[in-house]
């Protein structure tokens, strides 16, 4: 026992019970035992503190991070990111990250832990892809040391190694990353690698292994995917069906088209002595095994919308049309999309019934098969007015030059503020520019000028949407326009909108063009 430990022991027990140990080189401290213990302890304490020697060995230096290959963001942008992370700018983090990711820049290392923390949990999932892009190699290096940040390893395109041993021996996340990289480089090799382990791998991993197959999807994958349609795991079957439904030339597409055409027939009718073509819509009578195998579930996803849940057969019809290549219809009826959409629809019982199911299915098919022609026709046909979200999504399928005008047209149509902010504006492409920006500026200004109290909630929702919607390059001008509005009662909403727009405008300027 060291002299110090002896002293601590004596002090714990008390000098009344145990006399202080002797310390040869201590100054004479008189007869009081407690005083002597304290004086000797003082000597030992200072001696211990001053004589402290560093430890040798036993420490495991952290392995160096790989060098970065992306350039860093400019200092001003880095300072802006600090402000955004501190809560300024009303939630501009996603936009900042997007600006940096688009330019192939990385963040300063000091903010990487904060960003990795942001990407955790439910609220952070939409930030994960851009964070993975800007966190650099330092991000993966850090995440490998902290299990809380495993999500980055999963979403980073970089599995950390090229070693094929990862495919057989790595973690599930590493294996998905490895497969994704292989798929981008050599789709056939990725398919072969997966087939190799397909029967042996644990069921929980297999749906995730199909995710990378969206890249480089081709007719060569059909055979394998048809095999997966008979898998014992439901989520694997659904993933395979969703992939097959993107191959317009496949046997799957042909089966689906046959089903769809059985449900939707062209009919010649004579109404008031004029011959017309009608579309007769008849949902499938029953849910057969073939439908189930091809990924049309008994209760398709999204068929439970509160208040307007369609009966199952109508939901099947929507799903079947949505999985049918839209070119099927132009071929079958010999008409361009716009004219097909103009045809009157009936379900045999009442005119007009079934039209919503058909048009919604067509819209989803246009999205699935990225069919700009159908998207354009759907956007101008005046259909699906109850589905502003779908309309907003269709705008994405148009060529870039047409989007602003189409979006502006939709915005002018939708009068209900709620449908606008909760529906259409959520799915319309951002940032708003051109005709869309002009229309939205007018809409916001008009609402600001209204007398107070009439539409306060709507105004706040619209301002919040507009604050992040405008193209930041135009934001300064929009802010100036709103600042002119003489609106004392709505000043708070307006000021916040203008402040956020200016913040985003400044944010953009700090990045290289």
């Amino acid at each position: 026992m060291s002299a110090w430990e002896e002293h601590v022991g004596a002090a714990l027990l008390g000098t009344a019970r145990r006399p202080p140990p002797a310390l040869p080189d201590a100054p004479d401290a008189g007869s009081d035992a407690a005083a002597r213990l304290l004086d000797q302890a003082a000597l030992l304490t200072v001696r211990r503190r001053a004589g402290l020697r560093p430890a040798r060995g036993g420490a495991d230096p952290v392995a160096p991070a790989p060098p970065e290959d992306l350039p860093p963001v400019p200092p001003a942008a880095a300072a802006r990111l600090d402000r955004v992370l501190a809560g300024e700018g009303d939630g501009c983090l996603a936009e900042w990250l997007g600006l940096a990711a688009d330019r192939g820049l990385r963040v300063p290392a000091r903010v990487v832990p904060d960003l990795l923390e942001q990407g955790r949990g439910k609220d952070g999932w939409h930030l994960r892809a851009p964070i993975a892009a800007v966190a650099g190699r330092r991000g993966v290096w850090l995440a490998l040391q902290n299990p809380r940040w495993a999500w980055l390893i999963a979403s980073a395109a970089d599995p950390g190694t090229d070693d094929p041993a990862v495919w057989t021996g790595g973690t599930a996340e590493q294996r998905v990353a490895y497969l994704a990289r292989l798929r981008r480089a050599d789709p056939a090799a990725a398919r072969a690698a997966l087939l190799d382990v397909w029967d042996r791998d644990r069921a929980v991993h297999r749906p995730e292994f199909l995710t990378p197959f969206g890249a480089g999807l081709s007719a060569a994958d059909e055979e394998f995917l048809e095999l997966a349609l008979d898998d014992r795991t439901g989520s694997v079957r659904l993933a395979a069906a969703n992939l097959l439904a993107r191959l317009p030339e496949s046997a799957y597409a042909a089966r689906m088209a046959a089903r769809a055409r059985a449900c939707v027939r062209a009919e010649r009718r004579t109404v008031r002595r004029r011959a017309q073509t009608w579309l007769h819509v008849e949902p499938p009578a029953e849910h057969d095994e073939g439908m189930a195998r091809d990924g049309v579930p008994f209760h398709p996803e999204g068929s439970f919308a509160p208040g307007r849940t369609p009966a199952p057969p109508r939901a099947w019809l929507r799903e079947i049309v949505a999985r049918t290549p839209p070119a099927t219809w132009t071929g079958a009826f010999g008409l361009p999309p716009a004219e097909i959409l103009a045809l009157p629809v009936t379900d045999g019982a009442a005119a007009g019934r079934g039209a919503d199911d058909l048009h919604l299915g067509l819209a989803r098919a246009a999205l699935r098969f990225h069919d700009a022609g159908w998207a354009r026709a759907l956007l101008t046909a005046g259909v699906l007015l109850d589905e502003p979200r779908v309309l907003g999504e269709l705008v994405h399928e148009l060529p870039a030059a047409e989007r602003d005008d189409a979006a502006a047209g939709l915005v002018r149509w939708v009068d209900d503020a709620r449908a606008l902010t909760d529906g259409l504006l959520r799915t319309l492409p951002r940032p708003w520019s051109g005709a869309l920006a002009a229309t939205m500026t007018a809409k916001v200004a008009a609402l600001l000028e209204r007398p107070a109290g009439t539409a306060n909630t709507a105004l706040q929702a619209l301002c919040a949407s507009a604050a992040h919607g405008f193209d930041p390059a135009l934001a300064d001008r929009a802010a100036d326009r709103f600042a002119e509005v003489p609106a004392a009662e709505t000043a708070a909403a307006r000021d916040r909108l203008a402040a956020t727009l200016r913040f985003r405008h400044d944010m953009l300027k700090e990045f290289p063009p």
Binding site: V8, A11, A35, A50, R56, D60, P61, A109, W141, R502
Partner: protein, 428 residues
């Protein structure tokens, strides 16, 4: 004309994070009418919610703030917002003659008070009878402390485990009555010791050093610098004016290697650790009651050419900034390897055995894992564990490569405050 401050400097004046955030929302030109500034002041009228308009003036030389709003925060968001606008260059320059009467009056009043400071209590402290009375009280208080310490050790420290805070608070109160304020603070802080692992040794060390202090105070033959150290530890303060007038002056390029805030007894304390290019260390303390901003003039990670005036003592550490000779700029301090740092600390401890905090600036150290915690290891293979560390930002900046690490060295270990890598720095 004073230079505009950086945004970070302005926000550092905020009493809390909420005020800083609120200030950013007030800092937009549309909210202000008649905002202007000259070399010494900025002023303007800010439209609040509803119909109220607040008159805000800021004396940039202080800085000092005045606002007619009812906020109890100080400075309020309006004053901070005005400063933020000013720092962005969005406040137009004016002449002193353009100051509105409400601002001019306040500023003139401040100038008058500054030129003609009220007669302070210095005269009273110099009164020999008062000093004698206090000395007698302190002597009695120290005798009381000595008895208490001996009693604790005689009865055994074991009964201190889970002792109520009152055990220490009662003694601390008696020491306050005995006008030994600094000692009272140390005693009150002891209450936390028996709640930490390894407490018996730590408590004995603290008791032993307190007894050493009592001893030292009683000795008539102490050298003057050590006597100053002892008196400061007990609670005899040296007035600022005296330090500025007679303290040791050292001019150097001082790096602010770390800033740490603590709160005790409803008083916030900010410790700014400085390290001169000549190798000298210094500590600049500032205090503020709750809700008031602490002195933000020394920002971690910067270097300033300044003359410091040191408080007297055997190992002079605490200092005042007597004169600045230039603006602060980011800089990397000079560090030493672990062995050299420990030798330097030992030398300081030889002069002042009660030394419980010392700035460490270690160069060329890498982070390492040791016993589940973080440690640093230098090129020679010496290892020093780090305490209370959220490791991730340090690790992120280092990327596993050698860094310069600054921290506060205490008997419990090294608490990191800042780190510098070739590419970037991080201030914790």
């Amino acid at each position: 004309m004073s230079d505009r401050w950086e945004r970070g400097h302005v926000l550092a004046l905020a009493p809390d994070a909420a005020a800083a955030k609120a200030a950013a929302t007030v800092a937009r030109p549309a909210a202000w009418t008649g905002a202007a500034c000259d070399g010494e002041a900025a002023w303007g009228e800010c439209r609040g919610s509803g119909k109220s308009v607040y008159r805000v003036s800021v004396d940039l030389t202080g800085p000092a703030f005045r606002c007619s709003c009812p906020s109890r925060k100080f400075p309020c968001k309006h004053a901070l917002g005005l400063l933020l606008l000013w720092s962005d260059g969005a406040v137009p320059g004016g002449r002193a003659a353009d100051r509105p009467p409400w601002a001019a009056e306040w500023l003139a009043g401040r100038r008058a008070r500054a030129e003609d400071p009220p007669v302070r209590a210095t005269a009273r402290a110099a009164d020999p009878a008062t000093a004698e009375r206090r000395a007698a009280r302190v002597d009695a208080g120290l005798d009381d402390l000595d008895r208490w310490l001996r009693d604790q050790v005689e009865q055994g420290l074991a009964r201190t485990e889970n002792a109520p805070y009152a055990l220490f608070d009662d003694l601390a109160r008696r020491l306050v009555d005995a006008q030994a304020g600094a000692l009272a603070g140390q005693v009150r802080a002891l209450a936390a010791v028996p709640r930490r692992p390894g407490w018996p040794g730590a408590l004995l060390a603290e008791y032993a050093l307190l007894r050493l202090l009592v001893h030292a105070h009683r000795r008539p033959d102490l050298p003057a610098p050590l006597r100053d150290t002892v008196r400061a530890r007990i609670g005899f303060t040296v007035p600022r004016e005296e330090v500025l007038a007679a303290g040791e002056r050292v001019r150097d390029r001082w790096c602010v290697v770390g800033v740490r805030d603590t709160a005790q007894d409803r008083l916030a304390t900010r410790r700014a650790w400085l390290r001169g290019r000549g190798g000298r260390s210094a500590l600049v303390l500032s205090f503020a009651p709750p809700g008031r901003p602490l002195d933000a003039s020394l920002a971690a990670g910067t270097e300033v050419d300044a003359e410091l005036a040191f408080f007297p003592g055997a190992a002079p550490l605490r200092a005042l900034v007597a004169e600045r000779h230039g603006a602060a700029a980011p800089a990397v301090p000079d560090g030493v390897p672990i062995g050299a740092f420990l030798a330097e600390h030992a030398a300081a401890l030889a002069a002042d055995p009660w030394l419980d905090r010392w700035p460490a600036v270690l160069s060329g150290v890498r982070f390492a894992r040791r016993d589940g915690g973080l440690a640093v290891v230098d090129a020679a293979g010496d290892v020093l564990p780090l305490r209370d560390t959220e490791p991730w930002r340090l690790l992120a900046v280092s990327g596993g490569a050698p860094v310069t690490l600054a921290g506060e060295w205490t008997p419990r270990g090294l608490r990191p405050l800042a780190a510098w890598h070739d590419d970037e720095a991080v201030v914790l």
